[in-house]
Amino acid sequence: MKFFIDDLPVLFPYPRIYPEQYAYMCDLKKTLDVGGHCVLEMPSGTGKTVSLLSLIVAYQQHYPEHRKLIYCSRTMSEIEKALAELKALMEHRAKELGHEEEFRALGLTSRKNLCLHPSVKREKSGTVVDARCRSLTAGFVKEKKERGEDVELCVYHENLDLLEPHNLVPPGVFTLDGLARYGEEHKQCPYFSARRMMPWCNIIIYSYHYLLDPKIAERVSRELSKDCIVVFDEAHNIDNVCIESLSLDISEDSLRKATRGANNLERKIEEMKSTDEEKLKNEYSKLVEGLQEAEKAREEDQFISNPVLPDDLLKEAVPGNIRRAEHFISFLKRFIEYLKTRMKVTHTISETPPSFLTHLKDLTYIERKPLRFCAERLTSLVRTLELVNIEDYQPLQEVATFATLVATYDKGFVLILEPFESEAATVPNPILHFTCLDAAIAIKPVFDRFRSVIITSGTLSPLEMYPKMLGFTAVLQESYSMTLARRSFLPMIVTRGSDQAQVSSSFGIRNDPGVVRNYGSLVTEFARITPDGVVVFFPSYLYMESIISMWQGMGILDQIWNYKLILVETPDAQESSLALETYRTACCNGRGAILFCVARGKVSEGIDFDHHYGRAVICIGVPFQYTESRILKARLEFLRENYRIRENDFLSFDAIRHAAQCLGRVLRGKDDYGVMVLADRRFERKRPQLPKWINQAMLDSETNLSTDMAVSNAKNFLRTMAQPFRAKDQEGISTWGLADIERHEAKRKTEEERMMREEMNNGHAMGGMIPSASRIVEDEYDDNIDADLMMLDAP
């Protein structure tokens, strides 16, 4: 279907459109026109991705700027889905326009997921794949080969050199799968094809990390121009990704390995001195000139990446005391020894980077400045030494990264040293957490650099939280409600079990046999009445494990077996994938299955349970983060002091966004239906924090139910849903045809004109109208929300 938003012709790959999709596209266009960032909350399963892509592709193709789109998503599954949607969209466009547009879109994921090399791709761990790949593709390896040495090269990578560098793959949209297949056919490396083709792509789809993680952002995303459109899809968790990209842990074990790595390096340096001293000298002189020069030498074959590279760092010369290789190694060793002594404490220590640096200087005379260059200096050294098996130096690299980070940032970080794993533990197992507390640090360069950043997801409530946490101003923030011709999903809050006793996952009563039994009977009942698939989310792995064991003892699982097959998310991702396959097979087969998984776990991100794959989703307990965690405590404190976000507000915001995310998994399209059960008494008070589209669909009478009432409600609901529902029934209400859009536009225009006239009449014509798009949102925390409502039920 083709329609116009203002002057922009949009080709939408369906003959109908949801009203919220249309509204979403209009708002998106406004934001792009004005320039600036926006936060858009679009109900799950209403085709957010396809609307976004249709509009932006239309925008790209219509206006002469041809702004590039960088589309970031969370997981590979979602990247693949977006690429598939884009591919379908472009096919539709080609059909409508009658010709194929000159257009390229590629996705990028890790080497592990794209590798074709017969032996490298069999490696289990992603870091090993990375390392082995580098050892087969690095520039110096090739040089060696040219010199006639017997080294192995990757034929897939070598073949790329035979192709035109700007035309490694033909124009078009390639899914990750498609790219891998193309690579296999033409014997070329999909990973490097995609990486090298990035500058020539109209659309790039990859993981957040490629923009947020300074370690890779610098290299992968360097050439992106300022007017790129950046989209963070499924961005409800973006703050955690930001934090993750700048945090790391160091254990006693990794320090031991780092020492070993340093010793190895030392030996290698000695070896090189005796054989090829020239190289070391060359390196030295390069380092004098500064990192900028060193930078030029490397492209993608960089061995160890640098966490942060501020501009000044690039221009400066590397400090003299670490310029010589052997000096640098002894410097590193000294630093590692210092860390080892710090590990030998018996009580928890929490300190800021400056205090850490002071202590470090007092004890070892290590200055801040050389520390900052650590990561980069190590990279240079490893390259000079032409090391191949660099996975052995991983722990050493971690230490160097830590050194650089701790010396670069003063604020927004904290060091936490925990000697014991848990309160109860008696054997020390010290861990040094270097934790980023401020999500804004990692994302700041993105907001600074790009004109339009779009943050969107199915669950972003409360919207004002995101600009505040990430430190930006939004020109537009909007939450769309869901237009429905029939009530196609049934959200309910179950607060009591069938014996009227309250159910909750709060720490006081979560292992109470009564509560566990009530949860068990809730799940059994829903397994009984729901057709096909049921998904149950638990707040944490630990709780899931204990509750399943208890259910087994109580015979509850035996009861569930009567109705459904039972599958569980396990720590092993591959095993979980197989379980997921079985689950889907059982749903399709009519046997029906129930899947137990964790609200913040692997399954909750990126796996959809649409249609019969999920007719009911049950959220057992509020998925709060564990508040005894020191890292979390530090972050809460930081948020309160710097962004005036209260602890309880943040905790409940965080829990609800994950719960809502779980609920949203079961919907895809308006012909889909599903029951959503939030089973915890504390949900009743948290209802206002749910996304608008869920909250609106929930009746007041359904916020305080017992198991029996919920089950009978759900039964009724499922019976209603079983009635035939034709596409015609929702036409004009929850789906629009072209005529509906035109009607809507006409109505909006007359409304606008009327407003204009009224303004004129009121004599306000002078000021003119404030264009709605440039509505600047007050970046002030809304304190009016009833404190009681937001109160966290103290765990």
């Binding site: 003959p15 993750e244 776990g601």
Partner: protein
């Protein structure tokens, strides 16, 4: 396709070698009757085939055959056929050889589907199973004709279908009793089923449906009786345990002669092994068992194949590896899963479910197939309710020889007529007509075009319907009344009364009527099949079927008569009632005799179409018979 055959000489006598229609035997018959015996070699007996090479001008086929009951060391019989069809000899021989070798291979590999031998009932059962399997699993598609043959010969299946469908059963036996003598029961049965293959297929599939397996260990509940814990398990349950837990099978295998069956099971259900298989944690307090505890450490399930390809949309492992340099602090304690050893139940749940689903075709495609987004995956991504109307996926029916449906004469006449006309002239006429009827740029009243109407003379109405011009008011009127008529008829048929009641007939009579109707239809069907087959061999059959058509008419008549008698009783009863009334009260009761339903009229009305059909069939038969007799007389 007709079975392959070719001219070939055997022992220097000319003849024809042919493969039988069911491809179960190859036979050679001499060209001149009496010039030797016909040779028939069943395919199952053929042990080898030899053919002269393509370069050799002589085309010969040598068949080695050995009867299955022949002594093992006896030399097989050899038959040499020399193909004599000149240039066609080679292709004929090739065709026969290829067909035969395919059949022989099939027979050797022992696929029952290919050799519907005289194994009868046991075979029948397997046919049902095979079909069910073919339908439920994603097995390779089989030749549908084979399947039909199997259904047809599957007596067990047919009887079970008859048992389950009493109406069909009655019809079957009624037909069997009233069938003409000339028709053997076997051929009646095969005729009967040939039109009901779909029912047989549906029944076979229905029978093939079995309840999926379930987690058997969780369904076993011991109960306490007189202070003794008892547990009953059935044979099926034991079987299920063995399939779901191969380990138990092994343990059973290795120990049961030593232990008694009962002992084994009672010890098993109290053992640690049982707890382990159920996924429960084993505690110190659990009783030990010298025999069964040995197996505690054996891992039951082999590690799942790690090389399976999981679809990208579901691949959690790839999601974790999406970003290889993932930093971040490790999750807090409660988000770190503890080892599988601590919570064995989780792995047990998954592996059990996987085992139960193991023999179901996976929903997301074959895991061992190469990864790739297929059509299905695309469809799943789409928002279904935003999509347009589904494209009709109809199969175009191509009729090769359409001329059969038209009488030849007409066709030719028309072609001739058209051929005679001058195209220029025709075009002129056409233009003139368009100019006249569509004077101004196509702006004209449609009604006028369709019904040139009022100005036309009314005389036309009297013209026979076929002569009236299309669109004249008279023709429209006719059409209108026909539609109304059809509507009326339809309404009576749809009328609830019509379906719920029996049109005034007694229930017994009505049942007889429906049965008569069904059998008549059945005979009609068989008649036409035989009649239209044009097979001279079936002439006798046709004759007997024609007779049975006559009998069908008679049966209908007898039903009608009985109905009339029944109605008469009712009418008499009413009259008598009226008379009694008159006698007792002196009032004359008007009896609405027309209101009494049923009787001959109703029967004739209901079976009108059938009677008509029977009549048509009979006349056609008589006519054809007369003609043939005439021809025969002429020829003679």
């Amino acid at each position: 396709m007709s079975p392959p055959s070719g001219a070939a000489s055997y022992k220097k006598k000319d003849g024809t070698i042919a493969i039988s229609a069911d491809e179960n035997s190859v036979s050679w018959s001499p060209a001149v009757a009496g010039a030797g015996n016909t040779i028939t070699i069943p395919v199952v007996n053929i042990t080898n085939l030899q053919q002269t090479p393509a370069s050799n001008p002589k085309v010969m086929l040598k068949i080695f055959a050995q009867a299955p009951d022949a002594p093992p060391n006896s030399t097989p019989d050899q038959y040499v056929f020399l193909f004599t069809a000149g240039p066609d000899a080679r292709p004929q021989a090739d065709l026969i050889k290829d067909t035969l070798s395919a059949r022989v291979n099939a027979a050797k590999s022992g696929t029952p589907s290919q050799t519907p031998g005289p194994r009868g009932a046991s075979e029948g059962l397997s046919a049902a199973m095979a079909i069910a399997n073919a339908v439920t699993s994603a097995a390779t598609s089989k030749n549908p004709l084979d399947e039909e043959n199997r259904l047809r010969s599957d007596i067990e299946l047919q009887q079970s279908l008859l048992r389950s469908d009493s109406n069909l059963q009655r019809m079957f036996f009624e037909g069997l009793h009233t069938k003409p003598e000339a028709l053997s029961s076997a051929s009646f049965v095969s005729q009967f089923w040939s039109t009901r293959l779909h029912l047989l297929r549906a029944h076979a599939i229905e029978q093939g449906q079995v309840r999926g397996s379930y987690n058997v260990l969780s369904s076993l509940k011991p109960r306490v009786e007189d202070n003794v814990t008892r547990l009953n398990i059935s044979k099926e349950q034991i079987q299920l345990i063995f399939t779901q837990h191969p380990l138990v099978k092994r343990v059973y295998d290795e120990n049961v002669p030593k232990l008694s069956e009962q002992q084994f099971w009672s010890r098993f259900f109290q053992s640690r092994l049982f707890k382990k298989l159920r996924g429960e944690r084993i505690t110190e307090a659990d009783a030990t068992d010298a025999v069964l505890d040995k197996y505690l450490r054996t891992d039951e399930a082999p590690q799942p194949d790690r090389d399976t390809n999981i679809h990208h949309f579901l691949d959690l492992a790839a999601n974790e590896e999406n970003h290889s340099q993932r930093g971040g602090n490790r999750p807090y304690l409660d988000m770190r899963p503890s080892g599988v050893d601590k919570v064995p139940i989780i792995r047990t749940l998954n592996s059990l479910s996987e085992k139960i689903m193991a023999n179901v075709a996976p929903a997301d495609g074959d895991m061992n197939a190469p990864i790739g987004i297929n059509e299905e995956a695309w469809k799943k991504l789409q928002l279904q309710d935003l999509r347009g109307e589904e494209e009709q996926s109809r199969i175009t029916l191509n009729i090769r020889d359409q001329s059969r449906f038209f009488t030849h004469g007409q066709e030719e006449d028309k072609t001739k007529q058209i051929a005679k006309q001058d195209p220029d002239e025709l075009l002129q006429i056409l233009r003139a007509e368009i100019n006249q009827n569509l004077p101004s740029q196509g702006n004209t009243q449609l009604g006028k075009l369709v019904d040139p109407g009022d100005d036309e003379d009314e005389e036309m109405e009297d013209a026979p319907a076929s002569r009236r011009p299309v669109g004249s008011s008279a023709a429209l009127h006719d059409a209108f009344s026909q539609i109304l008529e059809a509507l009326r008829e339809r309404r009576t048929q749809m009328n609830e009364r019509a379906t719920s009641e029996t049109y005034g007939l007694s229930i017994a009579l009505f049942d007889r009527l429906t049965l008569t109707h069904a059998t008549s239809t059945e005979f009609l069907h068989q008649f036409w099949q035989a009649f239209l087959s044009g097979n001279p061999d079936r002439a006798g059959e046709v004759a007997s079927l024609a007779e049975s058509l006559q009998r069908a008419v008679e049966r209908i008549k007898s039903v009608a008569n009985d109905a009339e008698a029944e109605r008469k009783v009712e009418v008499d009863r009413l009259k008598k009632q009226a008379r009694d009334m008159y006698e007792s009260t002196g009032r004359r009761l008007r009896v609405n005799l027309e209101g009494v339903e049923g009787g001959q009229k109703v029967v004739n009305q209901l079976l009108g179409p059938t009677l008509h059909a029977l009549e048509v069939a009979s006349t056609r038969y008589q006519k054809e018979l007369a003609e043939q007799n005439k021809e025969a007389a002429l020829a003679g």
